[in-house]
Symmetry: C2
Subunit: 359 residues, 2 copies
């Protein structure tokens, strides 16, 4: 845009020095006397000097912009992620360019290309369900899950699953149903795996994947949770707060009180989780931390990189690649009903009290 502000030469002229000296003083690179540096700094701030990114970019080959690729932008986590990344990036002096790829893989590739064409210095990618990131021409930070090869940094989803499960176990639950969306997602698998790993001998878990179910029964179909309660399940450990919400409302609608008759837990601490009734017990990622690590790794890779090299785009690595999740205990999970159904078949179905439910 029309840089209304003063340029380097303006400052130089004001002080009667050369532009190079000003540049050196401001960047602290060349040899400039301390007093000169002081004077230049002063007039620079006084005049409100802001360096032209365009000029700098042209010369250095660095734009100071990172690209953020969220393949599944409808994801309710998006605000959290975008906010965290933007904060981390701007703290490091970077801007964030977003690209959307409406779930589609080919659109994702095109979106990435658009960012590359805009000369981003690096890319933060939250891949869609185990998508392998093609070799792009710049450093890439991948935020997926620690078990994914090529992952840069992510929440400890497995550990989060364990925390949720430990909580449910301590409350006395023995039969828990895990509810996820799609087993092809690494994140979802890790969360589910973490949960399962806690319930060993004498416990029972099963997993309900929504997407395959909806393929048959249609979008937004009932999950049949009242039947599951009748079968003796006392807890529903959902892989995302979105599923938890779906489960919770379905149970409530069927007249099954949460958490008295059935417990529900989620993941991610999404926006609505604290304000619904009962408020959701969930496991939260430390997005701020994750974003900070991802951006730091990216910035390091960028600064170490020779701007004119053959440009390989392997994912960057960070010192810490696994950030613990935090258990947020609210009201949606409690001890199971005192009269605990046997671990066998469904005779408990009779005890379904009032409340309409249609399969």
């Amino acid at each position: 845009m029309a840089r209304s502000g003063p340029k380097l030469t303006r400052i130089a002229r004001t002080l009667g020095v050369s532009a190079a000296t000003v540049s050196n003083a401001l960047s602290g690179k060349g040899r400039v006397s301390a007093e000169m540096v002081e004077k230049i700094r002063a007039t620079a701030t006084e005049l409100g000097y802001v360096p032209s990114q365009a000029g700098r970019a042209l010369r250095t080959g660095r734009t100071g912009v990172l690209g953020l690729v969220l393949p599944d932008i409808a994801n309710p986590l998006f605000p959290q992620i975008a906010q965290a990344i933007e904060l981390a990036a701007s703290s490091s002096g970077y801007g964030v360019l977003i690209a959307d790829s409406r779930g589609d893989v080919s659109t994702q590739t095109k979106a990435i290309e658009r960012l590359i064409d805009r000369d981003v210095d690096g890319l933060v990618i939250v891949p869609r369900r185990g998508t392998r990131i093609a070799d792009v021409g710049c450093p890439v930070a991948v935020i997926d899950t620690p078990s994914t090869p090529g992952n840069t940094v992510a929440a400890d989803h497995w550990g989060g699953g364990r925390q949720i499960a430990e909580h449910l176990k301590a409350l006395g639950h023995c039969r828990v149903l895990i509810i996820g969306n799609n087993p092809a997602s690494n994140v979802q698998n890790d969360r589910a795996g973490g949960i399962r790993s806690v319930f060993g001998e004498g416990y029972h878990t099963d997993t309900l994947w929504i997407e395959p179910l909806e393929k048959l029964a249609g979008k937004g179909c009932p999950l049949g949770l009242a039947d599951k309660v009748a079968e003796g399940y006392t807890a529903f450990a959902c892989i995302s707060d979105l599923h938890a919400l779906r489960a919770l409302t379905e149970l409530q609608r069927a007249g099954i009180n949460v958490p008295e008759r059935a417990s529900v837990t989620g993941f991610d601490d999404l926006i609505w989780s604290p304000v619904i009734t009962p408020a959701l017990t969930t496991a939260r990622m430390d997005m701020t931390e994750i974003a900070a690590i991802a951006v730091a790794a990216l910035v390091k890779a960028i600064s170490e990189r020779d701007p004119s090299d053959p440009a390989i785009g392997a994912p960057v690595t960070a010192e810490t690649s696994k950030v613990p999740m935090h258990l947020v205990i609210r009201q949606s999970a409690a001890a199971p009903p005192a009269f605990q159904p046997v671990h066998t078949t469904a005779t408990a179905a009779t005890s379904v009290t009032e409340g309409g439910h249609q399969p």
Copy 2:
């Protein structure tokens, strides 16, 4: 970034012409013979030429980047907005730089400055609760609500309110409680106003603002909706699906079936609305349309602008500034109970019916 691709001069050298000719041919500006244009186009695509934004920006003063400012980034609408703006912008050849301002007004100002410093060509701002946008140095498109002075384009929130209200009225509701967050928001006020305008003589509406209530009773406090039902309210028209969700779960938890005993409606058709039970009846904005108009207006203003002028930043205007909302009818709103409770105290709590409900 290291532009690995070929530069203008590379193409020029390949064809034995000057760089200027190549530039002219590609932009269609100077005088170049038709056949030359053809040849240049061909080799350009063949070599995979992508112009350097930095070089172009430096010369033209245009970066081809728009800034998107979402003052309340935690807003669950964010994905919709960001997606729509990004789509519209990239269709016009623009990139989208995001800036967050965690609700804080001073942070918002700083965020805008950061974008300006990065030489964005224009700004799309979804202002926080009636914030007045200070004069920035570039064209600005404001997406708020049609009644706000300086608004560029927005959904017809008032009209959306009317649609919701007409729907409830047609179903037979006479006493409806409007639930909003904060009356300082122009959007919320318009939605509420639209609803009220439909219920005239013989009807009753009241409004519950959550934020003031939470100031007293704490975050996530109960809204006391069971009492409202006892008072004879049969419908809860929420200003956002987030509030609708809160209302719905609170009612369900109190054993009040939705929609048999009380109807609940929302706004925005947020991610969870179709999948909860009962699915939410709501009014949706046409974000794609709104974004398209906003970006088009911005692009027009940018192209008409002299990049070196004194740069005033008054909001741009569009031909259409009001985009109709769409009513999405699902299951959360139905006819009120036949036996309408008297407008007095709470004895109705006993008459919990039972049984399924099929629309």
